[in-house]
Amino acid sequence: MSATASPVIALVGCPNCGKTALFNALTGSRQKVANYPGVTVERKAGVFATAGGRRVQVLDLPGTYSLRARSPDEAVTRDVVLGRFKGEAAPDALLVVADATNLRFALRLVLELKHTGRRLILAVNMIDIARRQGAIIDLEGLEAALGVPVVATVAVRKGGIADLLSRLDDVIDRAPEAAINQWHEPDAAELRDAHRAAERILRRCLSRPADSTLTARIDNVLLHPVAGVIILLALLFMIFQAVFTWAVPVMDLIKSGFDTVAAFADAILPAGMLQSLVTDGIISGVGSVLVFLPQILTLFFFIILLEDSGYMARAAFLMDKIMGGAGLHGRAFIPLLSSFACAIPGVMATRVIDQRRDRLATILVAPLMTCSARIPVYTLIISAFVPARTVWGGLQLQGLVMFGLYATGILSALVIATILKRLVWRHRPEPFLMELPSYKLPNPRNVIFGLWQRATIFLRRAGTVIFSMMIVIWFLSSVPGAPADATEPAINYSIAGVIGHWLAPALAPVGFNWQISIALIPGLAAREVMVAALGTVYAIADQGAAVKSALGPILAADWSLPTALAVLAWYVFAPQCASTLAVIKRETNSWIWPTVTFLYMLTLAYLAAFATYHIATALLA
């Protein structure tokens, strides 16, 4: 350790041990989340002061059962612990976090980490829950048996933190146990030995009553083959309701906020290219993405609650057979669920899937879930073309069409995943092996921290990648400007207009006219921008929500029914979202996967629109 730099401590622990809660308790708001360079694993770092007043940097490493890394996240943990991670200082000490109600795995991890020669300290976390269950843990005995300082903590209530802070000074000052790293990847026999050694220590240091825990009783209901599935479906339904109703007032507020700012910029800037760039390009472009923030946060609120309470693993258990049928991991269920709000958090959420191929398959099909950006396009076309009448005794025809579009998205995602996993990547499916943690009450503080982090990640992205995309798309749609004696809308003269006219013959077989072809280009920014773009092409003077009400009748007069249905079919599949592709690029760290996504979705969109157009034409003839 150099004299000038502050010492670095890394938090290591099994999944669900309360590591992040301890990290939050240590650092409070003095933390920041970024990505490790080159990999899409979250790097959570913070600072705190020890009892001796020493400033310490702390890293919250991804949870793992051992250093035998099996996922990109676990590889980061291994490499940072071993001091092999490029650009990351080797930690001066490791703070191992153990779940007091399940010590066995943590003890095995401590024994393994001792081979690395790093200074260690063990925090036996959630000691309150273990004691409430009647467990008696001999902390001094543990300390003697492991040869590592041991403190008891209750991270969610900041219990034991003072004790931990005062012990840390000693740990940092101590000479490392062994100068050299003797860790190597354990084989099955060594794993067995480590497990048995942990077991022997446990027998000496822990006494607990026969287990009849609350968790087991809750699971009898929540994992019940029938009741469990019904409860899961009810929960999902409730989350959906919340995402699509609670978030709406805030979304409207953001939308009108951006409209006001755009109107203001419009008024103070002289008419011309700069005005167009600021209002049409930057403000409405970024606004069209930011408007999803409330939905994303609502969704993540529930995801964090489900994750922290321990229910998420149960949901993965219940859904595994269905997901597995399509060759996906049970955990793929969460990213796919998130994608109903927006594919961006969905693709980001695939980080919970360990295996690379499982994760890629999930990323590739996530954009097929009907995201909320498709809703404005769907409602515009449905309300213009589908009569508002009831069929089959009480079912709304419009609602039924909407449901059909959602169902098509889900089914095609499952089919594509099946094709990928069964035909393209043919190999034995990865094992599905997952601890079902004890249930816990989520801690409000951790929920707020988690939401705050999601919000900053999303905003940072909207401010960089998405922002630059918006400018490119604006450029295509506005340059060159319309000549002075223009008779057509300005977009018609722009690069997008030229491309649109050039694309029109290719899109004619699916029933699209040149107006649709042009609107598809700004619609690449985000799907719902298509509505505004159609408004521009059909030269509607109204702004904002008024576009939709004015546009409906014009479309109804200008498009045939087969064309309208073909546009709907197109939108189920089309990769009409530059931000999603940008996130896929970031998450997979390669241009291959966004390209594959773009091409396969475009192909499906074309085929679906083609089939829809021709079948509808034939049926109506």
Partner: protein, 70 residues
């Protein structure tokens, strides 16, 4: 029931699975019992292994030999 042995010796492709099962607590002599079964095809299953509850698919669990007498 207790974990008897592993069926992995003769199956080199199972080495990784064996290590993962050990990591989740499936070692010889561990006390196990079946807690829950999935809705479709009674798969996956949730098993209590000593103090841990583990969810796994039947095809992966088939690597573990159990001794019903112990």
């Amino acid at each position: 029931m207790r974990v008897g042995a592993f069926d992995a010796a003769a199956r080199p492709d199972m080495i990784e699975l064996e290590r993962r099962l050990i990591e989740m607590g499936f070692v010889e002599g561990a006390q196990i019992h079946l807690l829950h079964e999935g809705f479709i095809g009674r798969d996956p299953i949730a098993v209590r292994v000593d103090d841990t509850t583990v969810a796994l698919r039947r095809r992966d669990a088939s690597l573990i030999l159990v001794d019903p007498e112990a």
